[in-house]
């Protein structure tokens, strides 16, 4: 019985969290509960407020109003206890690149008061986990972006935190390295670590997270497991290209379909696409249909459905690339 109770404990609890920077509301009335041992993703475009939420939970920022608890500790009143029980990998690099990997981990372990013997053992453990043990005594400035990221994840785990925050863990990394890091994050789940990660990569949230909260303009738009989210907007997504988009859309509306026009295409959410497609053809007299595509909904479709606008991952990552160039110099 005790075990069950422990399983259901919340690692993170956020109640009506608000953060204002002068006139800008970065976080607007966010409430959230994250269970122990789950991987939870905050998904949203840049500037949605994800990093602000993580900074508040990590006690680096004070909320304007609302309450937040990590491992049962209040992030404002019990900041030091919170800090002891969390690990964090920041969006921007935070290693000392004049030191070796081992020295970075050693300083970290000392800051968290890990005794000498355990320090040595843990350094080996975490470095082996991220496959950097052979490079333990190399200076961090000789590491690639992906290696630095892995080292930061290793460092975040040094003191065995029960909650690990990962702020855009694969930002600016190539697809192969990204998958590599996903594997490490999945491994953490087996060790019982609660992971809260932010990302603006749909695929990342989809493949890693047990539950996802989609966040836009400082508000949580919707949350649930990836499949819950996809199911919530209907069985299939149909995309139609044709000679007269608005006319076909109107006809679909008249027949009770919830059709939208996005980027010159009609987007339709239906239960079973195969049954609807013949109907579309029967409604399209006088309109030339160029193509009809259907697929199971992706998180992109979920975002589109709940926010009413298309998700611009590429645009965001373009800005990131410029930003990364400045930061990772």
């Amino acid at each position: 019985m005790q075990r069950v109770e422990k399983m259901q404990r919340q690692a993170i609890k956020i109640e009506g969290l608000v953060k204002r920077f002068n006139d800008i509301i970065a976080v607007n009335e966010v409430s959230l509960e994250i269970n122990e041992g789950e991987i939870f993703a905050l998904l949203g475009p840049n500037g949605a407020g994800k990093t602000t939420i993580i900074s508040i939970l990590a006690t680096l920022l004070k909320p304007t109003s609302g309450r937040a608890y990590v491992n049962g500790y209040n992030v404002v009143k019990e900041a030091e206890k919170v800090r002891k029980s969390i690990g964090i990998v920041f969006q921007d690099p935070s290693l000392d690149d004049q030191l070796t990997a081992r020295e970075n981990l050693d300083i970290h372990a000392r800051l968290y008061h890990i005794p000498k013997e355990e320090r040595r053992r843990r350094i080996r453990e975490v470095l082996e986990m991220v496959e950097l043990y052979e490079r333990a005594d190399s200076l961090v400035k000789t590491f690639s972006g992906g290696m630095k990221r892995r080292l930061e994840i290793a460092r975040g785990l040094m003191h065995k935190p029960s909650v690990l925050f990962l702020d855009e863990p694969t930002l600016g990394l190539d697809p192969q390295t990204r998958r590599h890091i996903w594997n490490y994050i999945k491994k953490l789940k087996n060790e019982g670590v609660t992971v809260l990660l932010t990302t603006h990569y749909m695929e990342e949230a989809d493949s890693l997270a047990d539950r996802i909260a989609i966040i836009d303009n400082g508000k949580i738009v919707v949350f649930g497991t990836p499949s819950e989210l996809k199911d919530s907007i209907g069985g299939d997504v149909i995309k139609i290209r044709c000679s007269n988009v608005s006319k076909l859309k109107d006809r679909l509306h008249e027949n009770g379909f919830d059709a939208k026009i996005i980027n010159g295409e009609i987007i339709l959410h239906v239960n079973v696409a195969e049954k609807v497609i013949p109907k579309i053809f029967s409604l399209s007299s006088g309109i030339e249909i160029h193509s009809i595509m259907y697929k199971e909904p992706s998180l992109e479709d979920v975002f589109l459905h709940y926010t009413g606008r298309a998700y611009r991952e590429e645009e965001a990552s373009g800005i990131d690339r410029i930003r990364m160039r400045m930061v990772r110099r």
Binding site: R83, F90, D92, S94, L95, D96, Q98, E103, R110, L111
Partner: protein, 251 residues
């Protein structure tokens, strides 16, 4: 808390070990001062100045150059917090379960160690150049002066670093605050014979008393009472430590 201070200090020392090249390059300037300017004026002043200087010019200049080098090093070590902020390591420390004060004190001692290490190197070099220092009994006094001067300027560096967000800003402080303070400190010339308008600036400059105390302990020459020197220096240091602490905590 002591443990945490040590950890921050340890990191500073690890970094220092990696920057041996920088340590060498910062020795070059004082070496030029002593080797060229010191020796050049040594001969020029031999006939006119020894009564005014109280000894040869090279010996007179050495404590001044010592203070100058330490002031530069100490202030620049404050720059490391700016680097930490730019390269993110400050966040790693801020999110750790340690007190802000530990970070501050650890960094201060890191800068002080670096400055004193440099001071000792210059003393050794000066001995090789033939400067005769007072006996071993003056070592505690020299170390005390070195400590007070370096902690004051590390703190100033930290205060400035907490306020100024760019390297350009730091250059401004070095050029418009630190350099004038050194030039107006009597590090390079005796204060006694200055024109009175200049003397005012020199007398209100706290660093003047640091140079004077150093000269007293190092070669036994002084202009003011050494107790007065050390008192003013101590007050100056405490004020800057408080200022540095105040600004640092706010970031």
């Amino acid at each position: 808390m002591i443990h945490d201070i040590y950890t921050i200090y340890l990191r500073e020392m690890l970094r220092l070990r990696r920057q041996r090249v920088r340590l060498v390059t910062t020795i070059v300037m004082p070496l030029l001062w002593l080797g060229i300017i010191g020796n050049a004026f040594n001969n020029a002043f031999k006939t006119v100045g020894s009564s005014l200087l109280g000894g040869d010019f090279l010996s007179f200049l050495t404590p001044g150059i010592l203070i100058m080098t330490m002031v530069f090093t100490a202030t620049i070590s404050g720059i490391t917090t700016v680097f930490d902020r730019e390269f993110g390591f400050l966040k790693e420390m801020l999110v750790a379960p340690i007190k802000r004060e530990s970070i501050l004190i650890g960094k201060m001692f890191g800068g002080v160690s670096q400055a004193i290490l440099q001071g000792i190197i210059i003393i050794v070099l000066a001995i090789f150049m033939g400067v005769s220092f007072s006996g071993a009994s003056s070592i505690p006094g020299m170390l005390l002066t070195m400590f007070l001067v370096s902690i004051a300027f590390v703190s100033l560096g930290l205060a400035v670093a907490s306020k100024i967000k760019s390297m350009e800003g730091f250059q401004m402080i070095m050029n418009f605050l630190i350099q004038p303070m050194i030039f107006l400190s009597g590090a390079f010339y005796p204060v006694k014979t200055l024109p009175s308008w200049l003397k005012i600036f020199v007398r209100i400059n706290p660093l003047t008393y640091g140079v004077d105390a150093m000269r007293y302990f190092a070669i036994g020459i002084n202009e003011f009472n050494v107790i007065l020197d050390l008192t003013i220096l101590a007050i100056f240091s405490i004020l800057l430590i408080l200022l540095g602490g105040h600004f640092f905590r706010k970031t």
